[in-house]
Symmetry: C2
Subunit: 204 residues, 2 copies
């Protein structure tokens, strides 16, 4: 496509580098900025640069934070004997939204994926082990809340082996048919797993 | 949602101001930038600020341009006796992609929409009239290529009245069932219009 201006061409190219945004959407966004006041664009641009250059990570859980220790790790209300291992910050937000979990988190920064060239050394696994090793309060349980994919399972398997030497319980979040889901529309793999991992209510 | 950092909160808010981007997508984009190199974010941010602060508009057709006169208006190959009136730059790109039009354009910058508070004075209508008045080469035809909506039709009606005093032909792009479209899946309004605006091949 031949853009009427080099400036718009460059902006479209840069915006289209973002995941899930194609050239058509990028052009729509660029034209939107041109219609809006200059201050909006400046605020957007500053917030992006600030985010990238000033963001720090919590030394404990490796989550994005404003200080050396994030709010969750610093809170006295959280149960410090449970660590929930997640892929990234979005998972923390999702779990926090449920209000069902009061322990701490550990952000891996991804999952083991040989295809994408992500090995264990690229993830925050060393930090997790150091954390369990040197915790003021002993860690009793590590929960894996990883994606139900091949990569997520591989990562959980790797971590389980790594954590064998520690006296911690290891668990994984339940997988099965979603609440509100209908049996007949659930895929076979999920349904099959939900039968294998059935929960016994009453046992004689 | 409680974000782990004020910086990410501000970035998400700014990104989510863009049309069609919600908070979840904004967070995904922000986290993507955090994972990528700092240079990518700086390039994106600079391109946006440059776009907003340095872009100029063609004095003739009001399209985005790098100079006072855009490439299309400056070209000797274009038929300067036809002006195609469009809403914005994207429409110019779309029509240019068809390679079916060799005339000039005029960008209105929107359509008349009382609901959104856009009146004729907000659009580049005065510039269109001045252009037809003071053209070096007489303008023979004005084509309306506006959206087939109430607002588009209102704008075309308003412009037709405004252009009555000039000796120019006024036309509008054809509306009907799209090429490759199937009759039975076409909505009634489009189908009805396509019958009313039928084209006669042979007349005795």
């Amino acid at each position: 496509m031949e853009y009427p201006s080099k400036l718009i061409e460059r902006a479209v190219e840069e915006i289209a580098k973002l995941p899930g945004i194609g050239k058509k959407t990028a052009l729509r966004l660029a034209l939107h900025l041109l219609k809006e006041s200059e201050n909006n664009t400046l605020a957007l641009s500053t917030s992006l640069v600030d985010l990238r250059t000033k963001t720090t990570y919590c030394h404990k859980c490796m989550n994005i934070a404003d200080a050396d220790i994030c709010n969750i790790c610093a809170s006295h209300r959280r149960d410090k004997s449970i660590i929930c291992v997640v892929e990234d910050t979005r998972d923390v937000l999702a779990i926090e939204n449920t209000s069902q979990y009061t322990g701490l988190y550990h952000i891996l920064g991804g999952v083991i994926s040989p295809i994408e060239g992500v090995g264990p050394s690229e993830l925050n696994i060393e930090q997790l082990i150091n954390r369990i090793n040197g915790a003021d309060e002993p860690v009793k349980e590590v929960i894996f809340a990883l994606s139900p994919t091949m990569e997520g399972d591989t990562t959980a398997f790797y971590l389980t082996k790594k954590l064998k030497e520690f006296d911690v319980n290891i668990s994984t979040i339940a997988r099965g048919i979603p609440i509100g889901g209908e049996l007949e529309y659930t895929d076979e793999i999920t349904l099959g797993r939900s039968i294998l991992s059935r929960i016994t209510y009453k046992q004689d």
